[in-house]
Amino acid sequence: MTTFEFLLQGLLAAAQPLNLLYALIGVTLGTAVGVLPGIGPALTVALLLPVTYRLDPTGSLIMFAGIYYGGMYGGSTTSILLNTPGESASIVTALEGNKMARAGRGGPALATAAIGSFVAGLIATLLLAFIAPYIVKLALVFGPREYFALMVLAFVTVSSAFGDSTLRGLTSLFIGLAFSVVGIDQLTGQNRLSFGIPDLLDGIEVTTMAVAMFAIGETLFIAAQGDKGPDKVEAVRGSIWMSAQDWARSWKAWLRGTLIGFPIGAMPAGGAEIGTFLSYATEKRLTKHPEEFGNGAIEGVAGPEAANNASAAGTLVPLLTLGLPTTATAAIMLAGFQQYGLQPGPLLFATNPQLVWGLIASLLIANLMLLVLNLPLVGLWVKLLTIPKPWLYAGILLFATLGTIGANPSVFELGMLLTFGLLGYAMRIFGYPIAPVVVGLILGPLAEQQLRRSLAISQGDVTTLVQSPIAAGLLLLAALALIIPLILRARGRGEVLSQMAASED
């Protein structure tokens, strides 16, 4: 069958009423958490893992992907109206978007963000559908050492290539990796680092770790900043529709943003943030209205918003075709697949095409739902921003612990939640990034398996790892991604990198 036929079949699966409902729940929740500062798609998917344990896999994965897409839409609303990005990929949107809102052009800013997200999401999801089969074919020649090299590359880009310190990024990553070896070894059945505690035999629960790091760590950190007075929410004044000139200035920016965002999401190169910064820089250079940049240029909203949605779709390429997550959200979605005993990768396309193509097709539908949710109903989401902080964070912790208790109602699990929460808080104080811990915890066991398989094949000869050209090339790339930023930072050019920090929540 051709990609086109698969996609049509997927659309049929996705159009089933129950799956439509899951997609709707996903995009609604995703928009809500994208709008709310302090919580993001990674945390939301983590919270839903235990709740969806008994549901049908296709439905819940559709819901997770909807949350991811929705988070990207919702974040822009907060950036534009509150000047506080709802999630990290919307930082750039705040630069121009909030200026537009203050000048009474909040409506067109929201509109160009939503329509740009729609255009980008549509194109990028189609690109995902048409590129995925080729990568699957490529991936079939990958052996254990190539997978291991690919994972090393992902580890480096997620932890240390961006952000303000190689040392702190790598430290976060290795803390995650250290946690990942806790429990029964999958290849020999030996106990490792479980200290005779039965709760630890199964390893450290991904849900517990993600919820503790993202929800509890973040809540403690926000609380410790003290009361800084209420943030000012800009009201949406005037028409939300864009003028002809707005359209003329936006559409090229949308397309450029998509073309920048998608490949960056698709490469194992870290989060959606990077694409938004590149897109902003491109628009600033190409604009015919340079004087408006910094005072509310519509291109500066249209491009980055398109880029961040395109990256979200791009991230699904390595996740679905190789089983390789490159952001915290994708890592937790991988845990979602694993909870149903599914391993994303080339095999999944062969054994479970219904699920994969249903998921991809449902993203097209979710994207349409999001356009409707975010344009006419934007006023509703703005109301979420007026929830007072005490109730907002009390509610976040309520649901955070609900997810953990639902997965495992034990005192020990809650104790781990509190401990990791304090760890997450301490890491925030000292500027350690959070995402690498979660990626390390989830990807660590997979990388270990591939490494031990390749070493077992070579009878312990470590040089086997660089004897295949693909593996050697990937490891070389990983080494460059580690060393080049080190040199840049040593020469005092680290600001650019630290702005691109993948502080995903």
Binding site: P50, V51, R54, D164, L167, L170, T171, F174, I175, L177, A178, V181, D185, L187, T188, Q190, R192, L193, F195, I216, T219, L220, A223, A224, Q225, D227, K389, P390, W391, Y393, A394, G395, L397, L398, T401, L402, I405, G406, P409, V411, L414, G415, L417, L418, L422, Y425, I429, F430, G431, E448, L451, R452, L455, A456, S458, Q459, G460, G494, E495, S498
Partner: protein, 163 residues
């Protein structure tokens, strides 16, 4: 976090917090070495066994600890923002209370108290109002999640009224 290095003269002293972090990293490495040392003989003919990867990770952690010490002495760690610990204590107390009460008092009472203490951490200190509100809210959530979605949330005296 800003990249500004501390410049005044008294800041030339090593960053104590960073040294403590280095010590923690080294301690984690030590625990890993100690724990997997009993697995050593398990390595098969390929010399890779369950101890291989944990050992590599522990070596990396030691390397990172040394690197952290170097940065601590050079004052390369970013400046910390001032933290207010009052709110943190409220919230941690809430989480601890929930943990200790969960099995005896049930989900609603334990989580209701967490809710109220978190709100207190953010400035709503009227506990005689927030605790009942929290418990009621959690009871509703318990009814939805344990009743409709069949999530296994521990039941206490309050929940037993509905069972």
């Amino acid at each position: 976090m800003s990249l500004d290095n501390k410049t005044s003269t008294e800041q030339r002293r090593p960053d104590r917090a960073a040294l403590a972090i280095a010590a923690v990293l080294a301690a984690i490495a030590a625990v890993i070495f100690l724990d997997v040392s009993r697995l050593k003989e398990m390595a098969g003919y390929s010399q890779v066994g369950p101890a291989t990867v944990p050992n590599w990770i522990a070596f990396a952690l030691i390397g990172l600890a040394i690197w952290t010490v170097v940065e601590a002495f050079r004052g390369d760690f970013p400046e910390r923002e001032k933290q207010e610990f009052g709110p943190v204590i409220w919230i941690v107390a809430g989480l601890a209370a929930q943990m200790l009460l969960l099995t005896t008092a049930g989900f609603s009472i334990a989580t209701g108290i967490l809710f109220a203490l978190t709100a207190a951490g953010f400035g709503k200190r009227k506990l005689w109002i927030t605790i009942p509100v929290g418990i009621l809210l959690c009871l509703v959530i318990w009814l939805i999640f344990a009743g409709l979605l069949q999530l296994s949330l521990p039941a206490g005296p309050l929940e037993h009224l509905f069972l």
